[in-house]
Amino acid sequence: MDLSAINPLLFVAGFLVAATPLIFAAIGELVVEKSGVLNLGVEGMMITGAICGFATAVETGSPLLGFAAAAVGGAALSLLFAFLTQVTLANQVASGLSLTLFGLGLSALIGQSYVGIKPPRLGDIDFGPLADIPVIGPILFTHDIILYLGIALVAGVWAVLKFTRAGLILRAVGESHDAAHALGYKVKRIRTAAILFGGACAGLGGAYISLIRVPQWTEGMTAGIGWIALALVVFASWKPWRALLGAYLFGGITQLQLNLQGAGVAIPVEYLAMSPYIITIIVLVVLSADKSAAPASLGRTFHASN
């Protein structure tokens, strides 16, 4: 075993990358749940975004177009969920689970001819001299634009929820859809918009895996990140910054266990591979002592006559 083989700078830069798909998926789901909807289809929307983004990037040669397509693909799949839960008033848990299964199958079908291809690479942003600052430069200023977009998204969602009227209305709908309806707010319209936002975010997260983190296409490559995102939202008590923290924790431990595997630590690989999931959940369970933070209408079907 040779721990000196782990380069701390590369390690930190690597875990920022590893955390990014999770950040996108979690912040999208956080907005959805704040509106009172529980969408368990995150995994399905991520994998759909991953293949839509991958295919588009390969066909057009533009990774940014790929990301745009991923957002559209994730949102399109979430539209199906919105139709099921908001129009036909189907059960949200069952609809979400079927969305995940459907997304996994659909992505495998689309992806048949893309196995083994390398996608075009998205270049890092040129920060000029900033990248040459020792330690901080290689960690913070050697990434692609999507990674920074993810962090900006967390800040944006936090600010919108906390300071704007739109955010207040979204929280109100999630808190009591009956009261919101009585005051004249369009509950279904607001929830559908939130679901679409969540779908687009999940799609971006998926594409970040297939275009940047891995970068290639294999079936089921999101490997449960969508489920971790769901757990992250709950354990982060629906707070954007805490979700970001949880994502970095998960990304950090994932990166660490990969490095440890590389360094040949004498722990069975299976234990190392499961460690990020276990540690993230334990830490977030400890953090989530304030249980009253859940939106009160979460998962409940709204019908105007009730």
């Binding site: 207040l168 009591s176 009261a179």
Partner: protein, 505 residues
């Protein structure tokens, strides 16, 4: 007719199978306090929802200040100067007072300015309220203030109030009425819905009475007796519950410093409740909602277990008995929430009868259910309590509130309880059904059962209780004989006005 603020003529609204409003006409002048009376299902709520833009009328005209008025949604209604205070508060528990108020405004100012406006309005009308508090922590009276201030900030020309006093102490009602009279003097018209006829007599200038969706009469409440108004609503003479007087028997239930935590985040813990209940006694427990009523019922039913020594029934310590063991002993309960707590909404009446009747009625043998017997038990309840339903196979959800209430009370009464605890037995039930339920409780007590009635309806408690006690912040006042208690004394037992001030402007 431009003297009228609001002029409704021939308004009709039908839902599948029921005409909620049939050719209803109504006129309100500026500054008038107008009462809307009627039993459950008479169409009062549908009518005000049309005025507030939540429901569209099928036919008929609405005019405001002589102009056609047809709000498509509550936003339009608010812009036209209509404000509404809801029966079930339309508030968001997890949000602050200021956020709740901003949600009900068309063009809310910045939060800091809004907080200042809230303080100004609450000072002007004697309704103290801190903008930063979380609504879930407020008392019922304070919550209502949030709704009223939300309306007042819009400077409404018409204020609709749907049963505003059902959750207030007498002192809080007095403060509310002072505020309403002040508003009316300033020219704001008020459309006031309530079941409490004495309040209407003291507050309202005129009244419209609805029955089965139709206007059946108008009256001037100050010149009409409450009984006459009630009979106009029901359409027939009212029976007042009666009972034979009887000496109370031996003590059957003893609560000794009963304390319990609440299961819900915004609940109220019980604090050292001590009281004795005798055979044949009706103990009335009053108090504003949220002061421990649900928790007390749960502690008595066995849904919440309490420490040994706190709860003794017939010489036995039952604090650690669950609901089924307590039922077997004869301790029966009927909780407040009809749909979801007292009855399973999507199950049939037979199944619901089985759920609480299994042990005492012998509907279950060795784990096997005797459906034939359960069905005849359900039929017995339906017949004895005049429950209007096609049959015991119908789902509990399909019954109207009053009918289901008769069913869930009847189900317990017919099981020959030794002790019956009911919470809000006539909540949302019209006058004739309420009288029938109260009579059943009194008959039960005459037969030697101890009855505890938890209710927010003080008139009801005064009518049927032998002794009266009040719950306030989880504590129970010492019981006093109900005969001769004055409204002021009751109000003080209930905790007075919860720190509210009277508008003195």
């Amino acid at each position: 007719m431009t003297d009228y603020l609001l002029d409704l003529s021939g308004v009709t609204k039908a839902y599948p199978g029921v005409v909620a409003n049939d050719d209803v006409s109504l006129r309100i002048a500026p500054g008038e306090v107008h009462a809307l009376l009627g039993e459950n299902g008479a169409g009062k709520s549908t009518l005000v929802k049309m005025i507030y833009g939540l429901v569209k009328p099928d036919a008929g005209q609405m005019q405001m200040h002589g102009q056609s008025y047809a709000p498509t949604d509550p936003h339009a209604a608010r812009q036209a100067g209509v404000g509404m205070v809801f029966q079930h508060f339309s508030l968001f528990d997890a949000l602050s007072v200021a956020e709740n108020i901003a949600l009900g405004m068309e063009n809310p100012p910045k939060m800091r300015e809004l907080s200042q406006q809230i303080r100004d309005v609450s000072d002007t009308y004697g309704l103290p309220l801190s903008p930063d508090r979380i609504v879930g922590d407020l008392s019922a009276g304070e919550r209502q203030r949030v709704e009223i201030i939300r309306c007042l900030l819009q400077e409404p020309k018409l204020l609709i109030m749907d049963e505003p006093t059902s959750v207030l102490t007498p002192q809080e009602v007095e403060i509310l009425f002072k505020t309403l009279r002040k508003l009316s003097a300033e020219g704001t018209a008020i459309l006031y819905i309530s079941h409490k006829l004495e309040e209407i007599r003291s507050l309202c200038d005129s009244a419209t009475i609805l029955r089965l969706g139709k206007v059946v009469g108008h009256c001037t409440p100050r010149e009409t007796s409450a009984r006459d108004m009630a009979e106009m609503m029901v359409g027939s003479a009212l029976k007042t519950p009666t009972r034979e007087s009887k000496e109370p028997g031996k003590v059957v239930l003893t609560l000794d410093k009963l304390s319990a935590r609440s299961d819900s985040a915004f609940g109220m813990p019980l604090r050292e409740i001590s009281v004795e209940v005798r055979c044949g006694e009706v103990l009335g427990i009053g108090g504003v909602a949220g002061n421990g009523q649900d928790e007390l019922l749960n502690a008595l039913s066995g849904e919440t277990l309490v420490s040994p020594g706190m709860l003794t029934f017939d010489g036995r310590d039952i604090g650690l008995f669950g609901p089924t063991s307590r039922r077997a002993l004869g301790v029966l309960t009927a909780p407040e929430e009809r749909l979801g707590h007292a009855a399973v909404p999507d199950m049939s009446l037979t199944e619901n009868a089985m759920l609480t009747g299994a042990a005492r009625e012998g509907l279950e043998r060795g784990g096997m259910l005797d459906w034939a017997k359960a069905r005849s038990f359900a039929e017995k309840i339906i017949e004895a309590f005049d429950v209007r339903t096609p049959g015991p196979g119908n789902a509990a959800r399909s019954l109207s509130g009053g009918n289901l209430q008769k069913f869930v009370i009847g189900r317990e009464v017919l099981q020959r309880p030794e002790l019956l605890v009911v919470n809000q037995p006539t909540w949302g039930v019209d006058a004739s059904a309420a009288a029938a339920i109260r009579q059943a409780l009194l008959d039960l007590a005459s037969g030697g059962t101890a009855v505890i009635v938890i209710s927010q309806d003080l008139d009801e408690l005064m009518e049927i209780s032998d002794n009266f006690a009040a719950l306030n912040e989880g504590r129970l006042s010492p019981p006093r004989p109900a005969q001769g208690l004055t409204v002021e004394e009751i109000g003080l037992m209930m905790g007075g006005a919860h720190g509210m001030e009277v508008a003195d402007v």
